[in-house]
């Protein structure tokens, strides 16, 4: 079962990323990115990082991708076509991880487990994360720094978006 979920989400992430790189239309790439990010959220879940998976969905899929699409949808339609030069390099980059995934799928789950570090029984991470974020000896400083970065970004965006006085 875990093998199946892993392959499903891995395929979702990889195919999604490949589509991001290879599709000619910008909007299609953006939607493919949604697929890739959801696949990654699923991978987090199979690895037992439930909170991180949900954050991935909430922040990337529900938040950042919406803003992406917002921007992309309002850009004029560009008439780009398939063009070997432009997709050669990303295509080659995509082939490698897909090949690895196909190889793992072919040789079976046991080989995949060798690849991955042996996982402990997945247990809830939320409480530990909360404690560590507010623990002076663990991640308090990075946590506060990240929040300051976000605050600066917020103030900056308000500054950019404010109504300027007529000169």
């Amino acid at each position: 079962m875990e093998g199946f979920t892993f392959y499903f989400f891995a395929a979702l992430a990889l195919v999604g990323s490949a589509m991001v790189a290879l599709l000619p239309r910008l909007v299609h790439s953006a939607f493919a990115l949604v697929m890739a990010l959801s696949g990654i959220a699923g991978l987090y879940w199979t690895l037992g990082a439930d909170f991180l998976g949900a954050v991935q969905l909430l922040v990337y899929v529900g938040g950042i991708m919406i803003l992406f699409l917002y921007g992309v949808m309002l850009t004029p339609k560009e008439s780009s076509r398939w063009n070997l030069q432009s997709i050669l390099f990303p295509g080659l980059l995509c082939v490698l991880p897909l090949a690895v995934l196909l190889h793992l799928g072919w040789t079976g789950v046991e080989a995949a487990v060798e690849f991955l570090p042996t996982l402990p029984e997945p247990e809830p991470t939320t409480k530990t994360m909360g404690k560590w974020f507010l623990d002076r000896e663990k991640y308090l400083v990075p946590f506060e720094l990240a929040s300051i970065v976000l605050l600066v970004a917020l103030v900056g965006s308000v500054y950019l978006a404010r109504r300027r006085k007529e000169v």
Partner: protein
């Protein structure tokens, strides 16, 4: 029953897959049946508010099969795809929008200990998954290749991203009191009583809505923000029919259109039942008096009470819809960013200090 479980265990992984399929079937069945009732309720309620009768013919008793008849009609309609539309995105958009509302049902406990998955991140999972539905709406709006659809989708995107902040913050306030994200634990906190409690007992905390002034404010903020989250009036800008024809699903017809419809009504139910679980004590019928819901019969009654509360909240949503006019776009944004978000943050800080100082709302029931 035990023999069945044993047989399932013998089957191993395939049994696990089978049980997953069964759970999906249960959720799908509910998701299919609920909108039939909700649409009927909406039509009857709106008729009541306007001194009309509403549907009366189909099915005999007050037209209770009207929605089913409409659904069958929708199913037999032609599935049109506009010539200039982006076929693939147009095709998958309703499914994406639907799965956001559909997947949230998985973690909702319907009675004490009766849920499909008891996720540790319970309520956070609901917030995360429900944000996926927005992608579907944006996809539908863009793929239709229609001005109105695109406007609707853009509004939807702006509105939902804005109102996710107050809704998440307002749900955080009861979590500060409870200290757990599991929905079952949140209800457990509200009906926690003494160790040797009998069938009826005074609970320590009571419903979270009345736990402190901050949770009361949070409940109000949650309700308003949840209206915006499920695109209900007065926040139904994405499908403002007097301005945008019908917004992001202008070009949809037949079964695909009904998927958007299902999504809206299922999501109404989800926000209502989450509100009932988090703020209104779940399956506890009274604010400060709790009952033991441990045997199957009581669980059934509890599930009924919970569903009743959810239906009541849905009815209040309908009531608001037929009361208030639609807000303007800038008013919606003002409401989200200038009022609900700061108020939610203020409430969050208040609740944190409140909890830190160990205050209790009603000193008698400690």
């Amino acid at each position: 029953m035990e023999r069945l479980v044993g047989a399932l265990e013998g089957l191993g992984e395939s049994a696990f897959a089978l049980s997953l399929l069964m759970c999906a079937g249960v959720v799908l069945g509910f998701v299919g049946i609920w909108p039939l009732f909700a649409v009927w309720l909406e039509r009857k309620a709106s008729a009541d508010f306007q001194s009309r009768l509403g549907p009366m013919y189909v099915g005999g008793f007050h037209g209770w099969l009207q929605t089913l008849a409409d659904g069958i009609k929708l199913a037999f309609k032609e599935d049109l795809i506009p010539a200039q539309a982006n076929r693939v995105l147009f095709w998958i958009a309703p499914a994406v929008a639907f799965c956001g509302a559909f997947a949230t049902m998985v973690v909702i406990p319907i009675a004490q200990g009766v849920e499909i998955v008891n996720l540790d991140i319970g309520i956070f999972f609901i917030l995360a998954i429900s944000s996926v539905g927005t992608i579907g709406v944006v996809m539908a709006g863009w793929a239709s290749n229609n001005k109105w659809s695109l406007y609707g989708a853009v509004r939807e995107a702006a509105q939902l991203v804005s109102y996710e902040i107050p809704i998440a913050l307002s749900l955080m306030i009861p979590i500060i009191a409870v200290g757990n994200l599991r929905l079952g634990h949140i209800v457990g906190f509200q009906c926690a009583g003494p160790e040797d409690a009998g069938f009826v007992y005074l609970s320590h905390h009571g419903w979270l809505l009345f736990y402190s002034p901050w949770t009361l404010a949070a409940g109000l903020i949650y309700f308003v923000a949840s209206l915006a989250e499920c695109k209900r009036a007065p926040f139904d800008l994405p499908e403002a029919e007097s301005e945008l024809v019908s917004g992001f699903h202008t070009e949809y017809s037949g079964l695909r259109f009904s998927f958007f419809f299902l999504e809206e009504y299922v999501f109404m139910f989800v926000v209502s039942i989450v509100g009932a679980l988090v703020f209104l004590g779940g399956w506890q019928p009274l604010p400060f008096v709790s009952f033991q819901f441990d045997n199957p019969l009581m669980k059934l009654i509890g599930a009924g009470i919970l569903l009743g509360k959810a239906v009541f909240l849905v009815w209040v949503q309908i009531w608001l819809r037929w009361t208030l006019p639609r807000l303007r776009v800038d008013q919606v944004m003002t409401m989200g960013y200038k009022y609900l978000t700061p108020l939610a943050m203020l409430t969050l800080m208040g609740m944190a200090l409140y909890q830190y100082w160990g205050c209790r709302y009603i000193p008698g029931i400690l």
